[in-house]
Symmetry: C2
Subunit: 198 residues, 2 copies
């Protein structure tokens, strides 16, 4: 029924995470019915990003400039480095605006199952960044998964001879978490890492 152009747009949209074929069709219809207010601005924004898109050679972030906006920001603390698995993690952490330093994206996590070895990640680049000096503290912000934690352990070992503080994100109850609904792993972590009430 739909013209080939509309079909192509539906299919391209349906490949986005969070959109299936059905919602993609709804989105296409929405775009077509409101050409000036939705389709045109989206097209322009997408063109801008497509033209300027680059991966930061320093930290591995994807941005519209290289070095990325975080690496270029003079207000950032050069002494602190937060290591994350993926760009999505960097974005998520940075939205909290609580980490004042810079980032390093590994590009994944060590995984025996998926055959991801240290040389498949940007670990050598990380070591070079730290060897270059000026970094006091490294925060290992891996996911709280088996593979994330394996990666964090591996990194901690690789970095142990540098004169830097190495920390990792706390594990425990998430904000709003109810004991009754949390898994045993989280409860065990929260109990093990319990802190004195002051």
């Amino acid at each position: 029924m739909a013209s080939p152009e509309i079909e192509a747009l539906s299919q391209a949209l349906a490949r986005l995470p969070g959109l299936g074929p059905r919602s993609a069709r709804r989105a296409v219809l929405h775009l077509m019915k409101r050409r000036e207010t939705t389709l045109v601005p989206l097209l322009a924004a997408m063109q801008q990003v497509a033209e300027k898109l680059s991966t930061c050679a320093t930290c591995g972030n994807v941005d519209t400039s290289d070095p990325c906006s975080i690496c270029r920001d003079p207000r950032r603390d050069d002494k602190s480095l937060c290591v994350v698995e993926e760009v999505a993690d960097l974005w998520a952490l940075d939205r909290s605006r609580l980490f004042p330093g810079r980032y390093h994206v590994l590009g994944g996590r060590l995984s025996a199952l998926d055959g991801v070895r240290p040389e498949d990640l940007t670990i050598d680049q990380l070591v070079r960044r730290i060897s270059a000096g000026g970094i006091d503290e490294v925060v290992l912000a891996m996911n709280a998964t088996l593979e994330g934690q394996t990666t964090a352990h591996y990194l901690a070992e690789r970095l142990e001879n540098f004169p830097i503080r190495i920390s990792q994100l706390a594990h425990g109850l998430p904000v709003g978490g109810e004991l009754d609904y949390l898994d045993e792993g989280t409860l065990a972590q929260a109990l093990r890492a319990r802190r004195p009430v002051t």
Copy 2:
């Protein structure tokens, strides 16, 4: 954190139905990490649609040509006309491939509450299409809502003096519907419209 271009793209995507700010950010990241396989094709598809986008002067469908692909299709039955409220309804019905005729999009439904009167819809155009002759049957495919049914009644009255068959979609149990979970309105309709078992 994100550059203004990325922020703009996030916001434009977040205005699509089915995507919120969070899923829009995930979609942006997805597009940026896979530029060649996702961003570029989506951009091209969107450009095509944006350039060719038009509303069919005959039936009110949105398509990449005017007359739209349905109105141009020589295999369609000119004698049957299906009247729908919105373009989305046309697309939904046409996906079923069960209606062989052509369509007419009203552009909404009569609503005392929202102040939508007959002259706000394409009812005059519909009457002109039917007056022009050649149409045998009109299917009123309004939503099974109060306003949809009011609109169907109004149309049936407006069209009663034409030598045409006027029908409307059957109401009853949806396929897979379990009595226990259906509302009383649907059950009442299904009972009232019960048919002899042959």
